[in-house]
């Protein structure tokens, strides 16, 4: 046998490769059963990037169905509540070019909002309660309703069903607690006139810096 193989190197090579192919095929087959992945992990990842407003503006009943839609090749720019940031994040995840956000009619989609019920006008019909995907509206039949602001995602699904139009979307105001510094808006091409509001950058050049202290000493 060995002699036969040594005299026919081609046959020996084919045999060896064939055996290897069988062995690896076996391992791969075993692994595909043993380490089978349940569900589609990409859907989970996409769902994690979506803002979970469950607003349905993408045409799906909730964020997860849209995540499944994206996994099946749907456009990634149909989420106005997420804004361009979500589109960019999705593009990064899926390795595609980020298209512009398809905000439709809503121009100010980027501003976060919450629903507000004008409580004097509310007749207690519970229609908005049924419409809210977040259970963020509190109330009972013939009782005044109100919005739990912390739970409201601003999907505005409650605005349409209200028979007396007492629900409006109000932008969330920035408070001292939620405020944060803006990124400096500097473009190199044009000499920016923006003056950053931080004082450490107002430092003088080393030569200038010496001047006032010298003056002080002189004084």
């Amino acid at each position: 046998m060995i002699e036969l193989l040594s005299t026919h190197p081609i046959a020996a090579a084919i045999l060896a490769l064939g055996l290897l192919a069988l062995a690896f095929g076996g391992i791969l087959g075993f692994a595909s059963i043993k380490f089978k992945v349940e569900g589609d992990p990409i859907v989970e990842q996409i769902d994690n990037l979506l803002p979970q407003t469950q607003c349905g503006q993408c045409g799906h009943p909730g964020c997860r169905p849209y995540a499944e839609g994206i996994a099946n090749g749907e456009a990634i720019n149909k989420c106005p509540p997420g804004g361009q940031a979500t589109v960019d994040a999705l593009a990064g995840l899926l390795g595609v070019d980020a298209p512009a956000l398809d905000a439709g009619e809503a121009e100010d989609a980027d501003i976060p909002k919450v629903a507000y019920i004008r409580e004097d006008e509310c007749i207690g019909c519970t229609k908005c309660i049924q419409a809210c995907p977040m259970d963020a509206i509190l109330g009972a039949a013939k009782q005044m309703h109100t919005v739990i602001v912390d739970e409201c995602t601003g999907c505005d699904l409650c605005v349409e069903p209200c028979p007396v139009d007492c629900i409006e979307m109000r932008p969330i105001e920035t408070t001292v607690k939620t405020w944060h510094w803006e990124k400096p808006n500097i473009s190199w091409a044009s000499e920016s006139t923006s003056t950053p509001n931080i004082i450490a950058t107002d430092k003088l050049t080393p030569n200038d810096a010496q001047k006032p202290s010298k003056d002080d000493r002189a004084a």
Partner: protein
């Protein structure tokens, strides 16, 4: 650049004081100090402001909750807002006067936003609440001292404004070895701590001793001062003589006064990323905080004023001012004779870490250590930023050993993951990198913006996760409700279908039946009637048998249960209660069964009487015999029950006192039941007798006629039985109404007394059955009265 020759990251020995080894921090810069101009005059008290604006969040943590109303008159030092939770502080009125508003007012904040403030209009008297002096504060426990500091509303006065009491009460498990008092004041322009150390060293040292006592006397208590404050150093050194407190002096370098940097300089230890200094056994407090704590503890002074450096070339007077909290900055500027024309802008804090204010109408708050009113020449607007030339000066200057340039690129492209992996959150925002940048890039502003965005994203992510959970839960709930509805609907459908089928069947049956009856009617109505009578006569027999069986089984159960009770009393006293309950149950069942039988028998009697046919005569005789037997059996049962009761009484006598009460109750109940059964039996007998007598009268004559051809013997036995029954019944009857009533009254009085006992017990326990019981007692009383009246009538 002196920082250039220092190894970044490695704390290096730079000097040995006579007492202490000092280390150095990486990086650092040397901006022009500009401290002299405000040190020319001593601390001056600012005039009393016309109105004060006191924000409800001057500290880190939850905003305070106002406890006053608009229109209230308050005294200086009066509490006007309390802390909301552990990490929060109260606010005190800094002048006496009237609360004119609690409303949104611009804050001294980089955003220029408004928040809730309490505004007091001063009455000019500055009438103070009585201050509680504590000359013996050294004898107080650490906890009560901490409470005093908390109640005084003291926030860290270095800049961040963390509640001092929280910082002085480190988490359990952190043993504090170093108490560091920060007198570094490394930022240019600011001299508030310097002048405080010069003028009020005694109180500061007393405060340091107080803080040391609160922290359980750490072995190392040190006041750290930069070497550009020779007078403060000399005063402090003089004051700390004969105390275990050290004064450490180290070379001036910005930002040595940062908390983490100072710890590194004085101990050589680095605070791990993302942790608090207490995790390595260090607590750092500002000298001004130590001073405020001492004043609060010793003299009971709440935190209502502070020393602020008011400086800048736009002012005629540059000095340190002791100012009431809430004083509008415009008042302070006027007091220092500002030249509005020269004033370019207003900066709160130092020139490195401070921020420009949007208006001069914002108040002085607990953290306001400096107010700079520079001219345009002194602090010109920043020159336009140029492109980064990758010189690396920022990395050399960074005191936290970060890579500012990398952070800058990632911040520009908003690559948040990379920023976090480059430890953006270890940046202390000291501004050293911005200061050295030759391209004037506002680096720190990029970092601050990126930090804010990351935090905001984290909050949004958290909210999105919560929203997802809520949405999923809602979907699940809706699906469940839908499924339940569906199930109900199906069940209803099924039921409707079945009902329809039944209806159809019944209809069909009814049709058939009606046809049959029509035929039958035409054929023979007589047989029908016969059948009816037959059913009438046969049915009662069966029912009687059934009832007899029930009585038998009840008796058997009673016997078994009483036997078990006896046994248990001998062997397992624990289960006595259970068995006694079983006996009771059995008795109840027995009486029920007997009652049913009685009812049934009387009814059959009447029915048979009314039928009055000759064919039922013999049957009746048999019935009579049966009844007799039944009566005997009942008597027997009652006897056996009495026996068992006697036995239980015997056992009761043997049982111990504790259980006696219980047993007595049970026994009473059993006796009552027995009595009832006996009266029932008596009634039964009476009825039986009367019916039998009537029957006799009605049936005797036809019976003699009809019975003649029949054999005599069964008739004789039957008549004998009847005679016996009659005898007995007459005996009973001779008892007369009077005796019966007496018996009834006896029973009633017994029941009444027991009920009253129960009621008393209920009242004692205060149970909610009281009302029901009292009602019962009243009813019983009424019954008793009625019975007595009847007796009298009789």
């Amino acid at each position: 650049m002196t920082a250039a020759n220092l190894q970044a990251g490695n704390p290096q020995l730079i000097a040995t004081d006579e007492e202490r080894t000092l280390f150095t921090i990486p990086g650092g810069v040397h901006p022009p100090e500009n401290k002299q101009q405000s040190l020319n005059s001593p601390i001056v008290a600012a005039p009393l402001p016309g109105k004060v604006i006191l924000p409800l969040s001057q500290h880190i943590g939850a905003p305070s909750l106002p406890i006053v109303r608009v229109g209230d008159h308050v005294l200086t030092g009066q509490l006007i807002a309390e802390g909301d939770g552990y990490v929060s502080l109260p606010v005190h009125a800094s002048v006496s006067g009237t609360i004119v508003a609690i409303e949104e007012h611009p804050l001294p904040h980089a955003s220029g936003l408004s928040d809730l403030c309490i505004i007091i209009e001063s009455d000019g008297k500055d009438a103070s609440i009585p201050m509680q002096e504590r000359p013996d504060y050294r004898n107080q426990s650490a906890k009560s001292l901490l409470d005093i500091i908390r109640e005084a509303g003291i926030a860290g006065m270095g800049g961040a404004g963390f509640p001092a009491a929280v910082k002085l009460n480190p988490r359990a498990g952190c043993s504090i070895e170093h108490l560091i008092i920060n007198g570094t004041e490394c930022e240019p322009y600011i001299t508030a701590d310097d002048i405080l150390m010069q003028e009020r060293a005694q109180d500061i040292v007393a405060g340091v001793e107080l803080l040391s006592k609160i922290l359980g006397e750490p072995k190392d208590v040190v006041i750290g001062i930069e070497d550009n404050k020779p007078e403060a150093i000399a005063t402090m050194r003089e004051t700390v003589k004969n105390t275990p407190i050290q004064v450490a002096v180290f070379p001036t370098k910005y930002p040595s006064g940062g908390e983490k940097q100072l710890i590194q300089i004085l101990t050589g230890k680095e605070v791990p990323s993302g942790e608090l200094p207490s995790s390595i056994g260090v607590v750092v407090q500002n000298v001004a905080t130590a001073y405020a704590c001492y004043r609060a503890v010793r003299y009971g002074e709440p935190f209502i004023s502070r020393i602020t450096t008011v400086v800048g070339e736009a002012l005629a007077e540059q000095r340190n001012v002791e100012v009431r909290l809430g004083t509008p900055l415009s008042d302070l500027l006027t007091f220092n004779r500002v030249n509005e024309k020269k004033l370019s802008r207003l900066i709160m804090g130092g020139p490195m870490m401070g921020f420009a204010l949007h208006s001069a109408e914002v108040p002085v708050v607990k953290t306001t250590n400096c107010l700079i009113a520079p001219t345009k020449k002194e602090m010109p607007p920043s020159p336009p930023a140029l492109a980064c030339i990758r010189c690396g000066l920022c990395a050399e200057a960074c005191p936290a050993s970060l890579l500012p340039q990398q952070l800058y690129w990632y911040a520009r492209s908003e690559d948040h993951e990379k920023l976090e992996s480059h430890h953006l959150f270890d940046c202390i925002e000291c501004g050293a990198c911005s200061f050295v940048c030759p391209s004037n890039i506002p680096l720190v502003q990029y970092y601050r913006s990126a930090k804010g965005k990351i935090k905001q994203q984290e909050i949004e992510k958290e909210k999105a996760d919560r929203s997802r959970q809520r949405f999923e839960f809602r979907q699940e709930r809706i699906a469940r409700a839908e499924a339940e509805k569906e199930a109900k609907r199906k069940a209803r459908q099924q039921a409707a279908l079945e009902a329809k089928q039944k209806l159809a069947e019944a209809k069909a049956a009814a049709e058939q039946h009606s046809e049959a009856t029509q035929q039958a009617n035409s054929d023979d109505a007589i047989t029908n009637a016969l059948a009816k009578t037959q059913t009438k006569t046969t049915d009662p027999k069966e029912q009687q048998a059934k009832l007899e069986r029930a009585v038998q089984s009840a008796e058997g159960r009673l016997q078994k249960a009483s036997a078990r009770l006896v046994e248990s009393q001998q062997h397992t006293p624990d289960k006595n209660d259970k068995f006694a309950a079983q006996v009771k149950q059995a008795e109840v069942r027995l009486t029920d069964a007997k009652k049913k039988l009685n009812d049934f028998l009387t009814s059959t009697n009447f029915s048979t009487n009314t039928s009055g046919t000759s064919s039922t005569q013999t049957q009746e005789a048999q019935n009579e015999a049966d009844k007799d037997k039944e009566r005997l059996r009942l008597e027997k049962a009652i006897n056996s029950a009495m026996n068992s009761i006697e036995k239980t009484q015997a056992r009761l006598a043997e049982a111990d006192d504790e259980k006696r009460e219980k047993f007595e109750k049970q026994l009473n109940a059993a006796q009552e039941r027995l009595q009832k059964a006996e009266t029932k039996l008596a009634e039964f007998m009476n009825q039986l007798e009367t019916t039998a007598a009537q029957e006799k009268l009605q049936t005797l004559q036809p019976a003699t006629v009809d019975a003649q051809p029949e054999p005599d013997t069964p008739m004789d036995a039957a008549s004998a039985a009847i005679a016996r029954a009659q005898a007995k019944a007459s005996a009973r009857a001779s008892m007369s109404e009077e005796e019966k009533l007496k018996e009834q009254i006896d029973g009633l009085t017994k029941r009444l007394s027991k009920a009253e006992e129960k009621l008393a017990a209920a009242i004692e326990e205060g149970s909610d059955k009281q009302e029901a019981l009292s009602l019962g007692v009243e009813k019983l009383k009424i019954k008793l009265q009625q019975a007595q009246q009847q007796l009298e009538d009789a």
